[in-house]
């Protein structure tokens, strides 16, 4: 019988041909921990009696979630990470380099067929590069850092076939929000998602990361796509390594195959306080917002900043709105400076913060006040997510966030085209 993408990758990394339902111990190609999870992983590493990391070239820590540190508690944990990485001799990406899920793909170490684990739930992002990457906790991470291996249950796969082409003003973010709304927050729990169809193929590589990033918001273990010329062109910017594509077999078995036509899709918004609480933007258009956020591992890439700058250029952010922009990485930041997008955003009134997670997870950089509404390009709008459980978070595309920042109300970005 044929295999899905994830069955193939778990087969090649466990040395035997596997199907959904089996439990395997597989080799991992790359391992990542961030400042919310790595400190506990260091503790677990010591508890396990760990001495060395299995391969110094295949482990990285990233300080991105609370970077630069907002208080001495965080500073102590950052120091612990720096010392551990230095002692064991592996790479640590420090304050200002960017969000882990931008940095790991930019490192060129992940591509088609790779198996990556990260102690961060959005590690599923690299599925856009035809890799199997998934989020784990700190103890699993420590076990993998020591042994280079981890156990997995081979998941079943749901295939999402997206037909048609997205209309102007409607983006990858709208597409994935729509899919999450359709299948709900646990629609793919214990399973992998494969995204395919002409609408996915038409997306830029950067947009594909946005789609894969949010697979976890439907409960999925991974969000995978096939590799094509766009994938390889993107990878060539970062590595000479020749990756072999891993396509799904035509006769692979799927738990479900869901087909959608996206040609008439409208801009979407996830309403407070659940990501699957999705509605067409029109339904909440006019809702006042006091904070707008562009960035995160979902939508902080150059393409996103460019789209936002296109709308904000020559205009001014509404006087009662704070617009916060966090580029996904230093590279993205520099490229956005070079092409003028940062100037456009800053002139319009944006506050640009350190490349990294920005205000996404409530540790710093823009905690909203009681009763405030935030519109954000992030991937989660849970109550309290941004550090205040009395604020409401709406999730949308960079274009919709930029348009809303201008008017002070949730606004359809197509009004600015």
């Amino acid at each position: 019988m044929g295999q899905t993408i994830i069955e193939k990758i778990l087969s090649s990394h466990s040395g035997k041909s596997v199907q959904a339902g089996e439990i395997v111990v597989a080799q991992v190609d790359y391992i990542m921990g961030q400042d919310g999870t790595a400190p506990l992983a260091i503790q677990a590493f010591n508890e396990m009696g760990g001495k060395a990391v299995f391969d110094r070239e295949k482990v990285a820590f990233v300080i991105d979630h609370s970077a630069p540190s907002p208080n001495e508690g965080v500073s102590a944990l950052h120091k612990l990470m720096r010392e551990f990485a230095k002692e064991k001799g592996f790479r640590l990406y420090d304050v200002g380099e960017g969000v882990c899920h931008q940095l790991i793909p930019e490192s060129g170490r992940v591509g088609p067929g790779s198996l990556v684990i990260g102690a961060d739930s959005h590690t599923c992002t690299y599925g856009a590069l035809n890799a199997f990457s998934t989020g784990v906790g700190s103890t699993d991470l420590a076990g993998a850092i020591i042994s280079g291996r981890m156990w997995f249950k081979v998941p079943e796969t749901i295939k999402f076939v997206c037909h048609g082409v997205l209309p102007a003003g409607v983006y990858a973010k709208d597409l994935i929000l729509y899919l999450i709304g359709a299948v709900t927050a646990d629609g793919a729990t214990y399973m992998a998602a494969e995204y395919t169809g002409e609408a996915i193929r038409a997306l830029s590589q950067e947009s594909r990361f946005t789609v894969a990033n949010m697979a976890i918001e439907m409960g999925a273990k991974a969000g995978l796509m096939e590799a094509d010329e766009k994938t390889f062109a993107w990878l060539r910017r970062f590595t000479d390594h020749k990756f072999a594509p891993v396509p799904a077999d035509p006769d692979a078995a799927y738990a479900r195959v869901l087909e959608y036509d996206v040609s008439a899709l409208e801009p979407q918004v996830a309403l407070p306080h659940q990501v699957d609480n999705v509605a067409p933007l029109g339904k909440v258009a006019g809702t006042p917002v006091q904070e707008a956020v562009i960035g995160t591992c979902t939508n902080g890439r150059l393409e996103d900043l460019r789209i936002a700058a296109g709308i904000l250029r020559g205009r001014k952010v509404h006087p009662e709105v704070r617009l916060i922009v966090a580029p996904a990485s230093r590279r993205v930041f520099l490229e956005a400076i070079e092409e003028g997008a940062i100037r456009d955003l800053v002139e319009a009134g944006a506050a640009v913060v350190t490349p990294g997670c920005g205000p996404c997870v409530g540790t710093h950089n823009g905690v909203p006040s009681d009763g405030e509404n935030v519109i954000s390009t992030a991937n989660r709008n849970f109550k309290g997510r941004m550090g205040n459980s009395k604020a409401q978070i709406f999730l949308a595309s960079p274009a919709a966030v930029a348009a809303s920042a201008l008017t002070g109300r949730i606004t359809d970005p197509r009004e600015y085209f």
Partner: protein, 166 residues
């Protein structure tokens, strides 16, 4: 493994930000301190309502959201003996087992807050003493039973020097 205590019921989709908010978990490795804030955004007084041995009871998709292992650890350090839910998010489920917090998949529709429960993991059954009903438990995969019996993944590694599932 047998546990006896009262139920604290929550709704579907309890996410890891509710279990322990990011604003606390980034600051410290002191799990006793984190435990004080467990479920705070859903019920500000929750920590004070717990008697050691009690259960958290959820609906579907319990523990969705981030990979933070502080979530099961904060629950465990708050004195909760096990989490019962209709279904769990997969990272939370793994983390719970890895850190030695029992997680039990079962139909929680017949459990309300305050109910007195007897959870028998080996026997695969939950007795709701308040309502006089027995609720069957979905068995854990063998790999997970092994890790749980070893006292979590760290203890498993110490014991075998790596993965040992044969």
């Amino acid at each position: 493994m047998q546990f006896h205590g009262k139920a604290h019921k929550f709704s579907d989709n309890v996410n890891t930000d509710y279990i322990i908010s990011g604003k606390y978990k980034f600051k410290t490795l002191d799990m006793k301190e984190l435990a004080r804030h467990v479920m705070e955004d859903l019920d500000p007084d929750f920590y004070r309502k717990i008697t050691a041995g009690d259960f958290i009871v959820g609906g579907t998709n319990f523990g969705c959201g981030s990979s933070r292992e502080q979530a099961p650890l904060a629950i465990k350090h708050a004195g909760i003996s096990a989490v019962l839910a209709k279904s769990f998010a997969r990272i939370f489920y793994r983390n719970a087992i890895n850190t030695g917090l029992p997680v039990v998949e079962c139909d929680t529709g017949e459990i309300e807050s305050g109910d007195e429960l007897l959870v028998d993991l080996a026997g695969g059954v939950i007795t709701n003493k308040t309502r006089g009903v027995a609720i069957p438990v979905k068995p854990l995969p063998a790999v997970m039973i092994k890790v749980l019996n070893d006292g979590g993944l760290a203890a498993h590694f110490r014991k075998y020097g790596g993965f040992n599932f044969d």
